[in-house]
Symmetry: C2
Subunit: 217 residues, 2 copies
């Protein structure tokens, strides 16, 4: 997540231990924290590199030595928040999904992530490198949770084991897009809260389908 834009890769010496003055890890910490603070106070669009540098007590040039621009910086600043996400084990697939939805939504409702996520994804539509950065720093880590949840549910006998690995991967990707997409859309586009009642309705829909949301009399 750190260590970006080094002038030239490790050709001369062995991979670890480069020469010259090392980069201050403390500065990294301060910059990322300052970025999150600025996101909360100003939001994505009014956040400027100069302001972040001032908040962090660092020169503006130091920022540009490590991050190519605002988008890359914000991705790294927000990514650590997603690392706190964990899949709870509540004994049943329904309970696990519901809890996961609520945790994910709580994260998206924080002002930092709320204003940052959509913005960086928007930037990424025209920037392949940024897209990859978002994927490895944020998206892929969430997708792991889906895989964990499925494995648990299969062990419990709540979901069938898939024989074809291609189908299995397809299903995992699909379910991930549905869960993340629905929560994001509800939170950021519809701008309505993801409360326990919504999580319950959504989970019911996800597991049993639209035909079952209102059971026939």
């Amino acid at each position: 997540m750190v260590a970006v834009m080094r002038s030239h890769p490790d050709l001369p010496t062995e991979p670890n231990a480069r020469i010259g003055r090392p980069r201050s890890a403390e500065a990294d910490r301060a910059i990322l924290a300052a970025t999150r603070a600025a996101l909360v106070e100003l939001g994505w669009s009014k956040l400027t590199m100069g302001d972040v540098a001032t908040r962090a007590g660092v020169a503006k040039t130091t920022l540009y030595r490590r991050w190519a621009g605002k988008s890359e910086l914000v991705v790294d600043a927000v990514a650590v928040l997603f690392d706190e996400l964990e899949l709870p084990d509540l004994g049943s697939l329904v309970a696990d999904v519901e809890a996961m939805v609520l945790r994910f939504a709580a994260l998206l409702e924080r002002p930092e992530t709320r204003t940052a996520m959509m913005a960086v994804v928007a930037e990424a539509t025209r920037d392949e490198a940024l897209r990859k950065r978002i994927r490895v720093a944020i998206v892929d880590r969430q997708k792991v949770l889906v895989l964990q949840g499925r494995a648990r549910a299969q062990a419990r006998g709540e979901l069938p084991y898939e024989r074809d690995p291609v189908t299995a991967a397809h299903n995992a990707d699909l379910i991930f897009d549905v869960i993340a997409g629905a929560v994001v859309h509800r939170t950021l586009v519809s701008a309505e809260p993801v409360d326990p009642a919504w999580a319950r309705r959504f989970t019911r829909l996800l597991l049993h389908g639209a035909s079952a949301v209102t059971p026939r009399p």
Copy 2:
């Protein structure tokens, strides 16, 4: 969709027929078209008001007389594209949903919408007025399609009629967030194509649930 920021509402005379030089409808057309062209060529972040004005053959001040800023302008410019969305009647709920998903995805894969949608939603997280503008200009019109689809499916006997109107509204909102959210997430975050195969898998999941994506032997 037009007619914004008029200096004072129609107090003196009757509602229609205001005094003074009327606004050029041709200019509106040219500006919105220029905005879409700029979105395609430059993308959201590099689009500037001055550039749009030049493309449209209009003075920059004319833009600011009608739109408060970039976000509002782009919302209106993209909104007309969503008006082309229609719900096909293919005889079954499955076929209708699949077709709708593909049409919606095709719209999101266009360069104009691709770069614009996420960006304006990101701006809207800190701007209630902009959020409302997006809702009435884009979101609510799509939600109607869900209501249409449900009505048809109910008439066909594919979905149960809901007695409680509150539950009915909840379900419609939920299904809307799931469909739109999943397609948007797949297209813009996962950055993978929504092809007929994906649409089929998604529709199956939506209608019958995760327990049914891989039928038990």
